[in-house]
């Protein structure tokens, strides 16, 4: 067992030396989580916008379900995806289990409800401001959704960021459907869990540092975009 100081020193060495194993894991993590976030945004934004502008019987029930799905337990999602993708499952013929695609699917299921629910709140606020103007212009539902999504784009960046944060930090679902296979499905969170259990704190800490830097970097970038947009009154 290493001391924390030793582990930190080794971690810094790994990061600074550009250790190929470390960066392979980081790259795969980013590929999986960014892909999942983009797809979840493509689904979640329009769904959130549609629910925001629609008034129908059962809308409150839909909102409750959407909000409840934000708290989906990752291991349960992982288990459900596993059951569907396993050889005896309905989608077993696709051969996706223990692949990055399976991890992307699990992350999409986890974060799409978060993105839909948060974007619904953002769009609903904007719609209450634009509603009469849009009705005066006789906009169709599709035109309304398109216009609201575009005008809320900077706020929705933050929503997307929340989804990415959840995806990249997620471990329960991806370890079940990905299997944490070296050079294939090992991502930062699963590697941290594995290396910690093995007592190899250096790699675990190095990955932790990269994870924190990525989180800080993405947050800083989005914050900077939002600040610029706010200065131009686009938020």
């Amino acid at each position: 067992m290493q001391s924390i100081a030793d582990a930190l020193g080794l971690a810094a060495k790994l990061v600074l030396s550009g250790d190929p194993d470390l960066f392979e894991i980081v790259l795969l993590s980013l590929q999986v989580s960014l892909t999942a976030t983009v797809i979840a945004c493509l689904v979640g934004f329009p769904v959130g916008a549609l629910v925001a502008i629609s008034r129908f019987r059962g809308r409150n029930a839909v909102l409750i379900v959407m909000n409840a799905l934000m708290g989906l337990p990752p291991v349960v999602v992982g288990l459900l995806v596993y059951l569907h993708l396993s050889r005896s499952g309905p989608l077993g013929f696709l051969g996706l289990l223990y692949t990055p695609t399976a991890m992307i699917i699990a992350q999409i299921i986890l974060i799409a409800p978060i993105i839909a629910a948060l974007s619904q709140q953002v769009i609903e606020d904007l719609h209450s401001e634009y509603s009469e103007q849009f009705r005066s212009l006789c906009l169709t539902r599709v035109q309304t959704v398109q216009a609201l999504l575009w005008d809320a784009r900077y706020s929705l960046l933050t929503v997307g960021l929340a989804g990415f944060g959840r995806a990249v930090a997620e471990v329960g679902a991806v370890i079940i459907v990905g299997g944490n296979i070296d050079h294939l499905t090992r991502v930062m969170t699963t590697a941290i869990a594995l290396e910690t259990s093995k007592g190899d704190l250096a790699l675990a800490l190095a990955l932790g540092i990269v994870l924190l830097v990525i989180a800080l970097g993405v947050n800083a970038a989005v914050h900077s975009v939002r600040m610029t947009a706010a200065r131009q009154a686009y938020v």
Partner: protein
């Protein structure tokens, strides 16, 4: 039995929507009656100024005429069309302009695009309202007067037959008021029917061809401007014009 054909529908679209006849219009919110059997006839051209104390239902009347709200009872007859059918042929300029979170030019582009108009008109429209030099600026950083002029440009971009204006110059400085009145007057002169809500007596005198005075949810008086201002017929209008508090 006569059958409605596609060409009949097209002809109906082309038919003028004026004159306007409002019959026994009632608007209630729960137990509160805002408009109480309002009747009104408006001709095909000119500028009608709607006046009256706060709460008399002026803004709600505009929204009803524009089809943004449904009355509790009564009829709004735009020539042979129902109110809901004519919204696309009208424009409403709100007291507080709702500007998109885009540039000035993109605000006009948006309206031209969604209404299927020629987008090449954008520069001419901005030039017309004196905002061509601000085309690339964020719309929401415009001053109050500029924002209202942009709202007017967007309204004019729809080529409306009727333009409703709900206190468009409230809280604006005299130069902005003058600029907006000029744009509205030019629109009226080009054949757009103007229905204009204002509390500003001077503005009403400058703009009105006829005046509708609302009081307690009804039309208390509807007279040509040349008669309304020197000799109002109803007591409420007389008190209002004389600066007395009318409730």
């Amino acid at each position: 039995m006569a059958m409605t054909t596609a060409s009949d529908a097209v002809d109906a679209q082309k038919m003028p929507i004026l004159p306007l006849a409002v019959r026994d219009l009632v608007l209630r919110f729960g137990d509160v009656t805002v408009l109480d059997g309002l009747c009104l006839d408006l001709g095909a051209s000119g500028c009608t100024v709607v006046m009256g104390p706060n709460g008399s239902g002026k803004s709600l009347l505009l929204k009803l005429l524009h089809g943004l709200m449904q009355p509790t009872a009564g009829q709004i007859l735009w020539d042979r069309h129902g109110a809901a059918d004519v919204t696309a042929r009208q424009a409403l300029v709100f007291q507080k302009p709702v500007l998109l979170r885009r540039s000035v030019a993109a605000n006009v582009d948006f309206v031209l695009k969604v209404r299927g108009k020629d987008r090449a008109r954008r520069n001419a429209l901005l030039d017309h309202v004196g905002l061509a030099h601000k085309a690339d600026q964020p719309a929401r950083l415009l001053s109050g007067g500029e924002a209202q002029r942009l709202a007017l440009a967007r309204a004019l971009a729809t080529d409306p037959e009727v333009m409703f204006l709900d206190e468009p110059t409230a809280s604006l400085d005299p130069a902005s008021v003058l600029a907006i009145e000029q744009i509205v007057s030019e629109a009226r002169d080009s054949g757009v029917r103007i229905i204009f809500v204002t509390h500003d007596m001077g503005q009403a005198r400058r703009m009105a061809d006829d005046v509708v005075f609302l009081h307690r949810g009804c039309v208390a008086e509807h007279s040509p401007a040349s008669k309304f201002f020197p000799e109002p017929r109803c007591d409420a209008a007389r008190d209002y014009l004389n600066g007395r508090i009318v409730v």
